[in-house]
Each structure stands twice: as C-alpha cells, then as structure tokens.
C-alpha cells in the first residue's frame, strides 16, 4: 500500500511541477515511468532489511514500513510544484533550488532509517548506523548513476556544469 502511495505522489506531483497541469493521462504515463524509482527504493529497502534476519516483523511488513520512511522525499516532491510556480530570487531558475533542497530529505531520511533499523529491524545503535551508511551510499550511487545516464555521460555532465559555474 505504501509503495503505491509513493508512486501516486510522484505521478501527480512531477507533472504538476513540469507543466502546471494534471490529467488522468499525465498521471498514468508518469506512474509507468516513475515506477522505476519505487522499484529502486524497493530494492534498496530489501537489501537493508535482508541484513537483519533477527527482526520481529515479516519481510513484507518490514518492506511496507520501509516506505513510511519515504515521507521526507514525499514532502520534498510535494514542494517541487511551488519551486517552478514561484520565481525564487533574481536568477528565476528552479533547478538550483531543486538540487540544493534535496539535501533536506536526504539528511532527514538518515534519521528515519536509523529509527526504522532500531524499532522495526531490532538492531543495535551501531548496527543502525552501519545500515544508515549503507542506505545513504546506495541512494547516492543510484542517484548519481541516474543523473550521469540522463546527462549523457560523466564527462559531458562535469564539463557542462564547470562551464555553467565559470559563467556565473
């Protein structure tokens, strides 16, 4: 149920962010595309949960609860339509704000995952910290891999960003 909610948030919020419009067609097409993000989170969650065989709940229940920890990213996704609707600052470009603001859910999620590991997976504080590190590493690797793929390769991305920074 919770993975479906995450998918709904993405499928509704991202088209609104992009075109300030919402139709059933937009939601359905977005749901198909962005289900990849939910599957990625499922995979990362499954790895973290699998490292704790002594947990008190079933694997499926733990996975569902894992998605409760997606709240910071859900709230950030809900915030995105405002980023593109309201001009922030003289630059009037939402991409920087999108990029910088994602740090907030990333950091918040670390605390959520730590609590999840302690309560749901029933691991020690040290074990929770290790799993938080594992989770953050997987999110960063997956995130950068997606960004590099979408930007046309690491060299193309880095050279373009460098030119933008030099141009400022």
């Amino acid at each position: 149920m919770r993975p479906a909610l995450v998918l709904l948030v993405l499928a509704v919020s991202l088209p609104i962010t992009a075109v300030h419009n919402i139709t059933l067609g937009l939601v359905l097409r977005s749901a198909v595309i962005f289900s990849a993000i939910v599957l990625l989170q499922l995979g990362i969650g499954a790895i973290v949960i699998a490292t704790a065989p002594g947990r008190r709940v079933s694997f499926a229940r733990a996975l569902d609860l894992w998605f409760a920890g997606h709240l910071p990213y859900n709230l950030w996704t809900l915030f995105l339509p405002f980023v593109t609707a309201v001009p922030f600052g003289p630059a009037d470009s939402p991409h920087e704000l999108m990029g910088i603001s994602i740090i907030a859910p990333f950091v918040w999620t670390a605390f959520v995952v730590a609590a999840f590991c302690r309560v749901v997976l029933d691991v020690t504080p040290g074990g929770a910290r290790r799993r938080v590190a594992l989770h953050m590493a997987m999110v960063l690797v997956a995130g950068f891999a997606l960004a590099i793929w979408a930007a046309g390769g690491a060299a193309a991305l880095s050279s373009y960003l460098l030119r933008r920074v030099n141009g400022l």
Partner: protein
C-alpha cells in the same frame, strides 16, 4: 497558418523526455504541445534514444502535433541537436564528423546553446557544417544569451541560409515552447519540416518577443500572427491542480 506557398508551423526542436532527463513521456509532451500552441516538437535526450524510440508508438492523427525523434549529442566540447534520426548517434569526434553521421541518416544538425566556452564551435568549418544554430533559448544568464546571438551572426556570415532556431530545452519546468521556431514548410510532415530546416526557412522567437532570421520571413511571421499558448480551460486546470495537490497532501497527513 498559410503564408503564400508555405505553411508556417510553430516548433520546438529541443525537448527532453522521460525516460531520460525530462519529466514527461513523448505522448504527454504531445498533449502539452497542443496547449503550448506548437505544431511540431523533437524529442532530444542527451546521448540516448530510449524516449525517442517511443515516438514511433504514437498515433499519427492529422490534427495532432508532429513528434520527431532526435538526440542531443552531448560532448564535452559541444552539444548538438540531431532532429529526424532513426538510430542514435555517438558523441565521439569533432562536430563536423558527428554532423556527417546525422546527415547520413537524413537528419538535421543544430548547434545547441552554443556558448563561447564550447570549443567545438570555434572552428569555422564546424559551424558552417551545421544546419541551424540555437539563437533563442530561455537561458537566464544574459552573458550566454549574447553568446548565442554572436554565434548565430558568425554562422550567418559563414553560411547565409543557416537556420535560426528557438527552442525551450524543456526538462521539468513549465517552459515548453517558451522560445520557438517558426518553420516555413511545403507540407505538414516530418519530412517537410526537415526540408525547411535544411533550407534555413525559419524564424526564431525568444521569450522576450525578439525574432531572428531573414527579415522577409520575420515580416511574414508578424503578418500571420501565429497563435501562442492556448490555455482555454485555465481556471479548470488550476482547480484540478489545486485539488490534486491538496488531496495528495491530505493523504500523506492521514
């Protein structure tokens, strides 16, 4: 709209789609193109053809905007829009070599946001090889905008019929068609659009209302008064957006 022997189409030839670094699928982009008052768009993701391949699955209704598969060939030294591709082009080698590969497929090559720091366009032969240059782009830095205009002026001196191009470089912000290209086509088809681009029968429009191109074509565009964004159901659309967002926030809170 008709203008003498030509039909003037409104196009955006630099649009990113999902899957890739765009938010919308090609089908969703086509729907949005209607609202943006566009007759033709090109799907051009960075060095990949996944979204462009989806274009062939779209139905080809006569009154719907044309969607042309393409790619933004992305190299550390240049970005090059390829419109009208059948398969992807690799971003290896100099501009002139990549342009040749695009032409082999019957595609059209456009210098994308050609800022001064892109060394690939320093060579006159490279700039003269492309079919068009992006002169109107919703770039927020004036410095870069001036560089796009300078590159276009240089390109025009090298190749007088080079096509001025205006595009939105749409990714995930509401700018589809914000800058656009008016194309003087003989027939309303992808082939007709590509032929007009190759012949340089275009006028670029930026987001400040400035037009670039052959003065006689600019005059014809002004006389034709092409429709811009057509958002007939704006109040209902805003209400739907508001209700959807509030509904979603409510579900999250509960």
């Amino acid at each position: 709209m008709q203008s003498g022997e030509f039909l003037i189409l409104s196009g955006d030839f630099h649009v990113h789609a999902a899957p890739g670094d765009g938010s919308l699928t090609p089908a969703a982009l086509r729907d949005e193109a209607v609202r943006a008052g566009l007759d033709v768009i090109a799907v051009t993701n960075h060095n990949q053809f996944v979204a462009a391949r989806l274009v062939s699955s779209l139905s080809g209704e006569a009154d719907e905007p044309l969607v042309i598969p393409g790619e933004e060939v992305t190299h550390p030294d240049y970005h090059l829009i390829a419109v009208g591709l059948e398969h992807p082009v690799k971003a290896d080698g100099a501009v002139i070599d990549v342009v040749a590969k695009i032409h082999e497929q019957g595609g059209v090559a456009i210098a994308a946001h050609p800022m001064h720091a892109f060394a690939g366009y320093d060579d006159d032969a490279a700039l003269a090889a492309v079919d068009g240059t992006e002169v109107a782009h919703p770039e927020r830095l004036e410095k870069f905008r001036r560089e796009y205009v300078k590159t276009f002026e240089r390109a025009r001196r090298l190749k007088p019929h080079i096509a001025p191009i205006g595009s939105s470089d749409f990714h995930n912000t509401p700018a589809l068609g914000q800058c656009r290209t008016f194309v003087f086509v003989r027939e309303r088809s992808a082939a007709g659009v590509l032929e007009a681009l190759r012949a340089g029968r275009t006028v670029a429009l930026d987001d400040h209302g400035n037009m670039y191109g052959d003065p006689s074509l600019v005059e014809r565009v002004r006389a034709a008064q092409p429709a811009g964004r057509t958002d007939a159901n704006a109040p209902w659309r805003r209400l739907a957006v508001l209700l959807s967002w509030c509904g979603l926030a409510g579900v999250l809170v509960l």
